[in-house]
Symmetry: C2
Amino acid sequence: MQIKKLNTQDSNFKDQLSQLIFFEAEENTQIEKTVAEILSDVKKRGDQAVIEYTKKFDHVDFSRMEEFEISKEELNLALKSLPQKSREALEEAAKRVFDYHNKQLMSSWSYTEDDQTLLGQKVTSLDRVGLYVPGGKAAYPSSVLMNAIPAKVAGVKEIIMVVPSPHGERNQLVLAAAALVKVDRVFAIGGAQAIGALAYGTQTIPQVDKIVGPGNAYVAEAKRRVFGVVGIDMVAGPSEILIIADEKSNPDWIAMDLFSQAEHDELAQSILISPSESFLNQVQESIDKLIETMPRKKIIETSLTNRGAMIKVKTLEEAAEISNFISPEHLELSVDDPDSLVNNIKHAGAIFMGRNTCEAVGDYCAGPNHVLPTSRTARFSSPLGVYDFQKRSSLIKLSNQGAHKLGKIASVLAHGEGLQAHAKSAEYRIDNE
Amino acid sequence: MQIKKLNTQDSNFKDQLSQLIFFEAEENTQIEKTVAEILSDVKKRGDQAVIEYTKKFDHVDFSRMEEFEISKEELNLALKSLPQKSREALEEAAKRVFDYHNKQLMSSWSYTEDDQTLLGQKVTSLDRVGLYVPGGKAAYPSSVLMNAIPAKVAGVKEIIMVVPSPHGERNQLVLAAAALVKVDRVFAIGGAQAIGALAYGTQTIPQVDKIVGPGNAYVAEAKRRVFGVVGIDMVAGPSEILIIADEKSNPDWIAMDLFSQAEHDELAQSILISPSESFLNQVQESIDKLIETMPRKKIIETSLTNRGAMIKVKTLEEAAEISNFISPEHLELSVDDPDSLVNNIKHAGAIFMGRNTCEAVGDYCAGPNHVLPTSRTARFSSPLGVYDFQKRSSLIKLSNQGAHKLGKIASVLAHGEGLQAHAKSAEYRIDNE
């Protein structure tokens, strides 16, 4: 397998880099149209529409919405049926994710000025959240943990999970994870119709305030459309890893780290940057050697051949610059002094520091969230966190003196903008002592 | 003028309330199509496309993009030309907005576990932000302050402002505000073409990481479409105020507070809730008396008649419940003990506590932001703040011991999900002591 090789010394390096990382979900007007119709139908007809679309797309033929609800008993049975080792691993992972996210909890604050005017910010949690879990091959119990735990920590009162069960097959690992983190209600529905049900509410499914979780192109488009009616987390692109490694790293380890991203799907992107040409060659050798041992060999090969790359740089500082341009979802710093190099990093979803720290541990159990900004969106967005399930209200409480002083300023500015009622409303409070 | 009257004791109160607050921006496929075309054209042809659309929509006929850039000199001249009183008011407002937003600044944190594994969160600012300022009657200098200052406090290195100048007319107040808060570059362009230029970058206008600021239906649709390529703040609906007032409030003040929201535009919504029927009647009288003094009488009348309402409740607690359902953008608590009532409030953009505190002061100079969630989105979103211009990267640095312990857990979970490269990548780090 031959991985693309780039070198920052090449005259057209910047163009090559842009081409490499360029990814744009194609605009698909057919998907847009279909999703718009499904959403409007679910909004209008509620349960009945969801039932019909689920019969059509998932081949599950129930006549009442209640039949799609998965009972507490079924969830708990799934958890009890887990092999002991899996259950312990899942519990330990959940505990660590809880611990980390607890540190993100925001609190209300306020301060009082000299004239007793109080200003502040009141922090509250969202009331009810919808959690979308994909069906089929991309249904991961770890995703249930990573999406539900921050909501729980924030204090969200009710989490409604939806997960499609094509042909009625229910993913037991996903149900076990839902039981473990105490998701409140679970419905075996999916697709744009499930997003519509959560966003607008139906006779059976209560309207939520925000929808989180990954999904296919239809789910992504549906989330984009209902944004505003409810909050959404983000519309994720293919997963990516960028590894900055020096020549002292173990080439087998780095090759496997590149595989671990590539095995997700054919569009996933793995990029390795190193100042050492010989190290890059060693990793290429490790790739050729290790690929034969991989059950998901085909996916890995397609991903690495089409979207993977190795980039030779002059220095680690240059590597950091390129990383900042790429703004990767996952960034491994497999170098002697990651504490120093991390100071040069500006944009990245999660940073894995040191040779010991592989992305896979972060995906499951280190503690931080594995829902991360993809496709260069780390330039402006953040990992999913407790803050996504909290919100803030500004607090303003003026003293007599404050109303007097600020009323005068507001009056001048309001008149300047031609808003006389604003001005008068402020003026009423002047001289009210 | 007759304002709608509702009473929680009416049998169909809930339906009436839902009807009252229901607002949905109509889906306009013509706008969607036009905007999609403009964006794709700007993406493809850059400056030349922006120049042509600006000629067509704003009737400004420049041949080079540079001619649309407003020089530092022109900005500073606008600031110098302000009347002394206006300048002082603007400066004092800016200072207070700076002070409040400084308290929102997030810092990086990390902690070390017993085995020396480090977990944390690195906080950085966005690099470059685009600020959209509408032209025409809704061009407010206060909006420039409220959008630019949180970005400045966050440490954003470059703010690019766009503001249309139909027929070449440049709003001097807006330019003065831009000079005051040291916006880096200003272009006299607007509409979907300006959003496209900021989102994709052109030969002259650099690509930004996030676009904030209000705009008309075309601008809103354009922001919705470029979301993902860049971040956006929110897609705002009509402005709203909800006032909870007891019978000891001054009916003239409350009437004027209702006007101050209604004067924004015909779709703005002003709602008053009180346990006192006689107080509601007094406010109705004040409205009829004071409306005659209002230069924006027509807008206020249309807004109050079509979208305004008074709601009679049994208790202040019931008022808070209704407020939580409405989740208003602005909430005034004109009561004896606002500190106690505020505990019952869960969803609101900004809360104005006590009879002294009118919304207008918050709009201009109290300190908190005036960009607030509308149309019930306070259920899941927050005022614009410094946190909108900062982002977080997770930090994970495993000790040998940590890699050993967590590698085992990750291995079990990865095998459970059928991701063998994930498992192997973690296993390599086990027993590496």
